[in-house]
């Protein structure tokens, strides 16, 4: 039973972590220029 609780907590924490990361990347404007981001990697800074 206690393993179940740990596993549930773990899965929620993993999912929640991914959610927070996604919201952060959205906030940071990482989806504002998908086309440019795809092409930028072809050029050295």
């Amino acid at each position: 039973m206690s393993s179940l609780i740990w596993l549930i907590l773990l899965s929620v924490a993993l999912g929640g972590g991914a959610l927070v990361l996604f919201l952060w990347s959205l906030q940071a404007g990482q989806y504002e220029d998908p086309e440019g981001a795809a092409r930028r990697i072809l050029f050295d800074p």
Binding site: M1, L4, I5, I8, S11, V12, G15, G16, A18, L19, F22, L23, L26, Y31, E32, D33, P34, E35, G36, A38, R39, R40, L42, F43
Partner: protein, 787 residues
């Protein structure tokens, strides 16, 4: 979109400019501007640009031009700490290498803090400290390479509208997180139910589901609740009403089950439903946002400032709305006049086709009225502003448009019409089920309520709510790929019902660029075109187009207001007005505007221009007639030219010399007769009609107002897009109906099962996802069908 490498071999022995890729006459560069740009790029050690770029023929060529300096100062946003921000629309971006080149060039500006190009929206954002006037220097650095920069208001529509986009994205993320986790836990309970899972464990699982699902449902469903609430408050109903009621009821019943330690909880169904619906919403929003941003970009790039004559004789460029009454405006040759006013000093040749619909330019005498949007074809003209801003003819048209838009009323989309019948039907079924089980079968209250809840869940209109948006997404992006911008969410459905098409003549059926009237000696035409290639005058552009791809001759000088001149060892070669070429200007001849070419020792030849049909016009009329659509021409031009065009297209009924109000009445008359009218027009005088018709289309060359009002904007010269739009709209309408039929079939099967109490949570979840996927798969067929 085909991409051509600039360094590819030229099979016809023609050479192309090393910088812009346009044809050049055997030389490395087509013009000194390109040569200079090439040297600048190499001097900065950025020569790698040429090797890695791909030229996109759909974009403006990278040819440096004498830019009209616009007033940047007003567009710069200065923060209290002295940080300046300027956003500019970039014209001429070819590929990722251009982004790199612009950013690298700007990185060498010591004062600039950050320069970032957004390739998706084609915007450049500059951030720097200190003197705002540095903006000129930054822009000049980019413009010398051949890009064109136009500043625009950062508070423009795009940024505002995309608050919705990121709100939807956040909601989708939350729904995805919740759906994933709740589904994982629910799977445990479904399997546990067959493996003798204890009630304590099951309750724990339900509680965890509830804790994850409830905040997610409250947050992610906001868009639906808001829309449903707004509809209900106005006494209407739409697809979001049954969705909201379903989600809220299912969640409350599940919560109640969880508290009471019941066997069934449906949190997973509610969250998955929201997730699927949000996927549809986000895709739909993206596709249309892209179309709208592109349409906006077209307008921004055309926004021009007005040159105001200062007391000291200098010219100062300001936006049209900042011109004072009585100010004197100077319009150069080939420039549009930005205000209403009175012509001063000299007669001028003006093209008012965008304003009145008259195709041929008119010679105006001093004292004549000119309107905003008129194109100056002759020498630089001075105009005294008599009306600006709200008082112009333009503003008058905008008011007519607003009135017409209100009269059009709200079009009720197909899905909402279905929802009107569907929502009450579903809720009556659920209530009947409950009463039947509780009163007639004497079942316990809770069990009866659960069966009724199952009815609500399986009928939750997931597939139904996706039926229309899924099709819209695919149709919108499909049209986008061929340069057709669908701006309104309901345009597709309105287009599918069109049975009458009304065309404006000038600029819509006919080309905005005049055509060459009579056959001339090809050799002289090529010579004239090589002189004309350096000019932006409309007649020169028409000439260049008639001659095909002729490279500009080196050493041509443009004499403002008169013409082009090329010095040769034999003497000057001139292209321009008759007076410039030394012949009598026969004013009496109304056959159209003309350009003369004089060469040393040869007779002066003249090139006459007239209106010509847009390419694809005849094919379009034939194909529309095959579909039994009724066609009509409404024009502000004189009867003669309109009759001529109507006859060329195969005797289309026409009405000529129509004022904007008369045009509007005609559209209203047609609509009153029960016809579904598509109006295609480009002029200022068509604006009210575009707003009044059931659905409207404008070419990208149209007046700004018309383009803003139109539901559809199509790019390019050809009229072919009209046929494509109607074809895609018809097929989209068909697929939408199939989708609705599919989801109704699904309900017809699931509803009796649910009413009899056979539906358990896992069956509900599986059936719901299955029907959503089926509808999406059916919509995807639209992307693959031929146009």
């Amino acid at each position: 979109m085909s991409l051509a490498g600039v360094q590819g071999a030229e099979p016809l022995g023609l050479s192309s400019c090393l910088h812009c890729g346009l044809p050049s006459q055997g030389t490395k560069f087509c013009c000194p501007g390109c040569h200079a740009a090439y040297d600048v790029i190499h001097a900065l050690g950025l020569g790698g640009y040429y090797a890695s770029r791909l030229l996109d023929p759909a974009q403006r060529a990278l040819k440096p031009e004498q830019a009209e300096r616009t007033d940047l100062a007003r567009r710069i946003v200065t923060a209290p700490d002295g940080t300046n921000t300027l956003t500019l629309a970039v014209d001429g971006l070819q590929c990722g290498a251009c982004v790199w080149l612009i950013e690298s060039i700007l990185a060498r500006q010591p004062d600039l803090q950050s320069a970032r190009v957004n390739m998706t929206t084609r915007r450049l954002r500059l951030i720097w400290h200190g003197d705002p006037a540095l903006a000129q220097q930054f822009c000049a650095a980019v413009e010398q390479l051949g890009y064109r920069l136009v500043p625009f208001d950062a508070a423009c529509l795009y940024a505002a509208a995309d608050a919705t986009g990121s709100m939807l994205m956040r909601a989708l993320a939350v729904a995805a997180f919740a759906a994933g986790n709740v589904m994982l836990i629910s799977l445990g309970t479904w399997i546990g139910a067959t493996q003798n899972m204890g009630p304590a464990t099951r309750d724990l699982m339900h509680w965890v589901s509830a804790l994850i699902a409830m905040p997610a449902i409250a947050y992610a469903g906001m868009a639906f609740y808001r829309s449903a609430f707004a509809a209900l408050r106005h006494g209407r109903t739409n697809m979001d009403v049954p969705v909201s009621i379903g989600v809220v009821l299912v969640t409350s019943i599940s919560l109640w089950q969880t508290i009471g330690g019941g066997t069934h909880a449906y949190f997973d169904s509610a969250v998955t439903l929201l997730f699927f619906l949000l996927v549809g919403r986000v895709l739909d929003h993206r596709a249309r946002q892209r179309a709208r941003a592109t349409a906006e970009q077209l307008l921004i790039l055309r926004a021009t400032d007005v040159a105001v004559l200062q007391p000291d004789g200098t010219l100062h460029r300001v936006p049209p709305e900042h011109v004072a009454l009585g100010a004197r405006i100077v319009a150069a040759m080939g420039e549009r006049i930005g205000v209403d006013g009175i012509l001063l000093h000299r007669p001028a040749l003006m093209d008012a086709s965008l304003v009145t619909g008259e195709a041929l330019p008119e010679k105006l005498q001093p004292g004549a009225r000119v309107f905003a949007g008129t194109l100056n074809l002759g020498e630089a003209a001075t105009v005294e502003a008599t009306a600006t801003g709200n008082a112009t003819l333009l503003a008058e048209c905008v008011r007519l448009i607003e009135a017409a838009e209100q009269a059009r009323g709200r079009f009720v989309i197909l899905a909402d019409r279905v929802a009107r019948l569907y929502a009450p039907a579903v809720h009556i079924c659920a209530a009947t089920t409950f009463l039947f089980w509780w009163v007639l079968l004497q079942r316990p209250f809770v069990a009866s309520l659960l069966t009724a809840a199952a009815v609500l869940i399986v009928t939750c209109p997931c597939a139904l709510a996706l039926a229309v948006p899924a099709v819209q997404v695919i149709a919108t992006s499909r049209l986008f790929r061929v340069g057709i911008l669908l701006k309104s969410p309901t345009a597709l459905e309105r287009l599918a019902r069109v049975d009458t098409i009304v065309f404006d003549k000038t600029g819509t059926l006919t080309d905005p660029i005049l055509g060459l009237a009579v056959g001339t000696d090809p050799e002289q035409l090529r010579l004239a075109a090589s002189l004309a290639a350096g000019s932006r005058h409309p007649l020169c552009r028409a000439l260049v187009r008639a001659a095909g791809n002729v490279p500009p001759a080196p050493g041509v000088a443009e004499i403002p207001g008169r013409g082009m001149e090329l010095q040769t060892p034999q003497g000057p070669v001139r292209l321009g007005s008759p007076a410039f070429c030394g012949v009598q200007d026969d004013e009496t001849n109304v056959a159209g505007p003309r350009l003369c070419l004089s060469q040393p020792g040869r007779k002066v030849v003249s090139f006459r221009f007239r209106e010509q049909l847009r390419p694809g016009a005849a094919e379009m009329v034939r194909s529309l007639r095959r579909r039994h659509l009724r066609l009509e021409i409404l024009s502000g031009d004189h009867a003669g030219p309109v009759a001529n065009i109507a006859a060329q297209l195969g005797d289309i009924p026409f009405l000529a010399e129509q004022s904007p109000v008369a045009k509007l009445h005609r559209i209203e008359e047609l609509r009153a007769a029960g016809r579904n009218v598509l109006m295609a027009g480009d002029g200022l005088n068509d604006g009210p009609c575009l707003a009044a018709a059931d659905v409207s289309a404008s070419p990208a060359s149209a007046a700004d107002v018309s383009q803003t009002v139109a539901d559809v904007v199509f790019q390019g010269q050809s009229l072919g897009p009209i046929t494509i739009i109607l074809g895609v709209a018809r097929r989209a309408g068909m697929v939408m109906r199939q989708n609705l039929a599919l989801s109704l079939c699904y309900n017809a099967v699931m509803l009796p099962l649910a009413m009899c109490g056979y539906v358990t949570p896992w069956l509900a979840a599986a059936a719901m996802s299955g029907s959503s996927l089926l509808v999406m798969a059916n919509s995807a067929r639209l992307a693959r069908s031929k146009s």
